[in-house]
């Protein structure tokens, strides 16, 4: 592995991963709406069309089901398609293709055909976007056996996880936190760089409470943790990174140390991943539990338009409050 690094934003790391993997493996194909000449509406694929040509960076008609359905055919044939869905809120026409076909092609053919594709989509709120541009519906895909679901929170992780997703033999839904596409830079290894799927990262060690989160919520959670540290509450912040399969070992190990837990996600509370993580802790570490497990989440409402999204998204204040409630439980 190269020791050189580049200082990249998260969206630049997406592009760097795509470029590196396309250079490494000529079967890797990028396709989607506006990914070619326009370089993607967030510029995630900028320059790829010029470097790799329109056979490998394909501007498609406006047809999500067609984009993912065609990707499934390409993957079954032996290519490694990386279809982009422009916003997660527009993924639903492709939902049937993803859950009915991509997720179970291996099962249905006992491994004769596989579906090594990566569906990329920016997800989440906080950028004053129009309606349907702020959804965070990772739980739909986590619920589907046969899919892997990844959400990075840093540029270096983005590159490493996306590269692993592209090399993975199974279909991966790769959700990108667009709120922090350009929020900060980080040194990212140049050239070949992978991070294994299925491994959470401990972002901050602490002994009082475990806080589980991912993607764009990692930053406000870290901010809340630092604020609470000033009050003497030490949070252990776990960035799950891969939501399917979950890193049960890291989740449980932390809880056995702290005995208290809070899950932070921007998706609606009911049916969100917070419930799954709570269940894992109940199954594996009940006797360590010292307080009810808290959830700080989006509300069970449609994502509001931007005049109200600051109330909808968990803020450091809400996260701090939720953590304090769990820590103060006697």
């Amino acid at each position: 592995m190269s020791t050189e690094t580049q200082n990249l934003t998260l969206v630049q790391a997406v592009r760097d991963a795509l470029r590196t993997e396309m250079q490494r493996d000529e079967d890797v194909i990028v396709l989607g709406e506006d990914v070619g000449k326009n370089g993607g509406v967030f510029r995630a694929t900028e320059g790829l069309y010029e470097e790799f040509g329109d056979d490998r960076v394909i501007d498609t008609p406006l047809a999500e089901s067609g984009i993912v359905g065609a990707s499934i055919g390409m993957a079954a044939y032996g290519l490694r398609p990386v279809p982009e869905i422009q916003f997660m809120g527009f993924i639903y026409p492709a939902f049937d293709q993803i859950v009915s076909h991509a997720a179970r092609l291996r099962t249905r053919t006992r491994g004769r055909f596989t579906c090594p594709l990566v569906v990329r989509a920016p997800y989440g709120g906080g950028i004053r976007a129009p309606e349907h541009h702020s959804e965070s519906k990772e739980a739909f895909f986590v619920h589907e056996p046969g899919l892997k679901v990844v959400i990075p929170s840093t540029p270096a992780d983005t590159k490493g996880l996306l590269a692993s997703a592209i090399r993975d033999p199974d279909p991966v839904v790769f959700l990108e936190p667009k709120l922090i596409y350009r929020a900060f830079r980080e040194d990212v290894p140049a050239g070949d760089h992978t991070i294994p799927l299925g491994e959470a990262a401990v972002r901050r060690e602490g002994s009082d409470v475990s806080v589980y989160t991912w993607g764009a919520m990692t930053r406000p959670t870290m901010e809340a943790a630092e604020n609470l540290a000033a009050e003497g509450v030490e949070c252990e912040v776990i960035d799950l990174r891969t939501l399917s399969p979950l890193d049960r070992e890291t989740i449980v190990d932390s809880f056995e140390k702290t005995g208290r837990a809070v899950v932070v996600h921007e998706a609606p509370k009911t049916g969100g991943l917070g419930g799954e993580i709570t269940a894992i802790l109940q199954e594996e570490a009940l006797l360590y539990q010292e307080a009810p497990i808290g959830r700080v989440t989006g509300f069970d409402t449609p994502v509001p338009l931007y005049a109200l999204e600051d109330y909808y998204l968990p803020s450091p204040t809400r996260i701090e409050d939720g953590i304090r409630e769990v820590v103060d439980f006697a």
Partner: protein, 378 residues
């Protein structure tokens, strides 16, 4: 549904539907000269049509500026596309329905939506900007999803034996989506009173019309569904009015023809897809300049002036009144208080669940404890 017996020798209910899909209907040429029949609008209505084009253009310019000044969120401009929107909406009766995409500010205003309510939507107020009795569905932001809704509205009208016609608006990109196919197919099968207006502006963000489909026209796709398809100069307000009026009349009283019509209104978006888009990355300025020669406003203005329906004084009055109307709409929108977080929890269900009420109450306790400033980033 039985097969429709049609005798072309006998029936010429609306001749415009007998044209080839690429035989584009035009009433005014690019210089505003009459090349077709003037539709059945009074002089006052023709001047009102012109005023609505000017209003739409000015509204659009101000809206783009509001976004640039940080007074509004991302906004999809319509400049260049006024004629197809205003002309077609003029052909609808009050009780007819519109299922718009996100760019149809002019069409929905003609049909009864207040300009300030349209602005409030783009200012992020959501349902706060939804205050109308007009039969207009909320703008569909996902692509083509409103097309099957239109079929359903029209089917309901038919089942109830009502007069109402349903009109969908969508872009050229939408014709690539499955919902376009399904919506038109069902409309054809059940022969519903629907008009499908495709505002073909040449570009779906960066993807040109030629890349959406190998079909030579979009109007020609109607044949696959057994419905009528017609192409019209979408920058000719009189042609779009005339064609839509014929389609609406046929939807209500089809004679031997199918009720549904697909109208391909060929036009151009002068500006960006939205204020978040930079069209210089994917299209040439020469192309934009060429289409600007077809601008609907000077075309209609020249026709109205040369036929004695409009003079300098009237144009000045229209200009002043349009400016005043848009300024008032902006003032009203900006004076509207930002919705409180209760609005987020309202209208999710007819009756909120226990859990939803608990979440609302919890947020209110947090607001009491920490103050609203702790939540608002701005």
């Amino acid at each position: 549904m039985g097969a429709r017996v049609r005798d072309h020798d006998e029936v010429v209910v609306v001749s415009v539907f007998d044209r080839a899909p690429d035989d584009r209907v035009q009433v005014l040429d690019v210089d505003g000269q009459l090349v077709g029949d003037v539709p059945d609008l009074s002089d006052a209505e023709l001047v009102d049509l012109y005023r609505h084009l000017r209003l739409a253009r000015h509204f659009d310019e101000r809206a783009v500026n509001l976004q640039r000044q940080g007074r509004m969120g991302t906004y999809p401009p319509l400049a260049g596309q006024e004629a197809a929107q205003v002309g077609s909406a003029f052909a609808l009766a009050d009780g007819d329905w519109i299922a718009p995409s996100y760019r149809e500010h002019a069409a929905v205003h003609v049909h009864g939506l207040d300009l300030s309510d349209i602005l409030l939507y783009w200012m992020g107020h959501g349902a706060g900007g939804w205050d109308t009795d007009a039969n207009v569905l909320p703008a569909a932001v996902p692509i083509a999803t409103q097309i099957p809704h239109t079929t359903g509205l029209a089917l309901a009208s038919k089942l109830r034996e009502d007069e109402a016609v349903a009109c969908a608006y969508f872009g050229d990109g939408a014709t690539s989506e499955g919902d376009f196919h399904e919506g038109l197919n069902v409309a054809g099968v059940f022969d519903v009173p629907a008009v499908f207006v495709c505002n073909n502006n040449g570009w779906a963000i960066s993807v040109p019309r030629e890349r959406q489909t190998a079909s030579s026209t979009l109007a020609g796709k109607a044949a696959a569904y057994g419905i009528d398809g017609v192409q019209v100069d979408g920058m000719d307000p009189l042609a779009t009015y005339a064609v839509t009026r014929a389609a609406v009349a046929k939807a209500r009283d089809p004679g031997d023809r199918p009720r549904p019509t697909l109208i391909e209104a060929v036009q151009y978006r002068f500006g960006a897809h939205t204020t978040a888009d930079d069209p210089s990355v994917y299209r040439d300025e020469d192309e934009v300049a060429a289409w600007r020669q077809r601008d609907p406003i000077p075309r209609l203005e020249r026709f109205l002036r040369e036929t004695g329906r409009l003079d300098d004084e009237m144009v000045d009055d229209i200009e002043a009144s349009v400016r005043e109307q848009v300024t008032e709409a902006i003032d009203r929108a900006e004076r509207t208080p930002r919705p409180g977080p209760e609005a987020m929890f309202a209208d999710v269900y007819a009756a909120p669940s226990t859990e939803l009420r608990a979440q609302r109450d919890h947020l209110n306790r947090l607001r009491d404890r920490h103050g609203d400033d702790a939540f608002l980033k701005e």
